[in-house]
């Protein structure tokens, strides 16, 4: 399992840094757009870290399985000895390691740049890590369902964003320092549910995509 996961990590590693650049760029643009008013940044900033993170994940999803479908490597995956669910989960975990974790860590400087209080950085990073797992679990399904589709991009956004809402709401609560304990618990729940159910649904969808 770990073996396969690491493989998938290398495999899926094509665009690891892209979302990171996207995320940091996005958070850099925020103060530019909002102007230098400190008070405004202080209240609006931390939630924006969450939005930037969600968008960074969203931007990686479109090509997640589409590339595999086009270049014929999806076919090979279907002939694997391992169940497809496990392979998809491995891909999700690889994505979390390659994109989710760096983004969560990058959340620390981003939150500071957006004027979040320093003592809250720890929980923000942890909550981002959990939230990324939830985003990825849901995102796998969206990516799988739209893999062969002509206008995949919008579709993914439409399918996936409603499910992104709960983690964003509770994650922003953490970032804003409200009811941190409860929100973290709910985030953990979201992450576990998404990672448990997402790969099953995504694998079912992928089996139909090979034509």
């Amino acid at each position: 399992m770990t073996f396969r996961r690491d493989l998938a990590l290398m495999w899926g590693g094509g665009g690891v840094l892209a979302p990171l650049g996207f995320f940091l760029g996005a958070t850099m643009l925020v103060p530019l757009a909002m102007g230098p008013e400190r008070a405004l940044l202080q209240s609006a900033g931390p939630p924006l870290v969450w939005i930037a993170a969600a968008l960074a994940v969203l931007a990686t999803l479109e090509r997640l399985f589409q590339a595999d479908l086009e270049d014929g490597s999806l076919e090979q995956t279907l002939l694997s000895r391992a169940p497809l669910e496990a392979l998809v989960l491995a891909k999700g975990l690889a994505l979390w390691c390659a994109v989710g974790l760096p983004l969560a860590l990058a959340g620390a400087p981003a939150a500071i740049a957006l004027q979040a209080p320093v003592e809250r950085i720890g929980v923000i990073v942890v909550s981002l890590g959990l939230g990324m797992a939830a985003f990825i679990g849901v995102g796998l399904v969206g990516a799988a369902v739209t893999a062969g589709v002509k206008r995949g991009g919008v579709l993914i956004a439409l399918i996936v964003l409603p499910f992104f809402a709960p983690p964003i709401i509770f994650g922003s609560a953490v970032a804003a320092g409200e009811q941190v304990g409860a929100a973290l618990a709910i985030l953990t729940g979201c992450a576990l549910a998404a990672l448990a159910l997402g790969p099953i649904a995504a694998a079912a969808a992928l089996r139909l995509q090979a034509e």
Binding site: P31, L32, G35, P36
Partner: protein
């Protein structure tokens, strides 16, 4: 002069003595300028001792822009006349300029903490200087991301020329935006508005930064030329 040096062979001969010369010059100027700036120049009547940051901050800011302008020129020559040495020069100068830009940002924000009461503000000049720093990083990253060196040189040169547009923005940002950062007081039309007793150490430090730039760039270029020679020899070996 330039066309004389355009021959890599002659350039190696020239840089063999010019690089150490610049290094010595930089050393001497720093040895004179740093104590002068830090101990023997007057404290500002408004800012007190913190003004001494200026002697690093301002030369770093000037040469961060100056180095970029140099790279712009070299990139243009490299693109239009296909000159390898110009490509190498632009590449060799970039890390030096990036460090200068970084020094300007760091000293600026160290200076900002006591005088403005903040490390960082999203003001026009600070933002455009940060943009310059990021452009440097992007330039270096592009160069290392493209495997084929010749292609990398051309692509990076294109990017460098496009980035030139940022220089006037930095220069005039203080006039265009109403900002925290003070407007030009030294290099402005109508003469300098700075106390002459600060001018001496400032210009010495500026000279020191320039000499440092010259030395580092020449050493970088020599290293790049040596590496290319080795690779060319290997290629010839593989072909035979």
């Amino acid at each position: 002069m330039l066309s004389y040096l355009a021959n890599p062979q002659r350039f190696m001969g020239f840089s063999a003595w010019a690089a150490p010369l610049f290094a010595v010059l930089a050393f001497v100027l720093f040895a004179v300028g740093l104590p002068w700036a830090l101990f023997y120049s007057p404290a500002d009547y408004q800012q007190g001792e913190t003004v001494r940051i200026m002697y690093v901050h301002v030369p770093a800011a000037w040469w961060a822009m100056g180095v970029y302008a140099f790279m712009g020129g070299a990139s243009f020559v490299g693109l239009v006349w296909r000159h390898v040495l110009a490509d190498i020069a632009a590449r060799a100068a970039a890390p030096v300029g990036a460090v200068f830009a970084g020094v300007c940002l760091v000293t600026g924000s160290l200076w900002g903490a006591p005088t403005w009461g903040t490390w960082w503000e999203w003001d026009g000049r600070l933002t455009s200087m940060l943009a310059l720093f990021i452009i440097y990083l992007g330039y270096l990253a592009l160069w290392s991301a493209v495997e084929d060196e010749e292609k990398a040189a051309r692509l990076a040169a294109i990017l460098c020329l496009v980035g030139l547009i940022n220089l006037p923005i930095i220069k005039f940002s203080v006039d265009w935006w109403s900002t925290l950062h003070q407007p030009a007081s030294i290099m402005r039309s109508g003469g300098s508005a700075i106390d002459p007793s600060m001018m001496g150490p400032l210009l010495t430090m500026a000279g020191a930064f320039l000499a440092l730039f010259g030395a580092l760039t020449l050493y970088n270029m020599r290293a790049a030329i040596f590496r290319r020679r080795v690779e060319a020899a290997e290629l010839r070996g593989a072909g035979a």
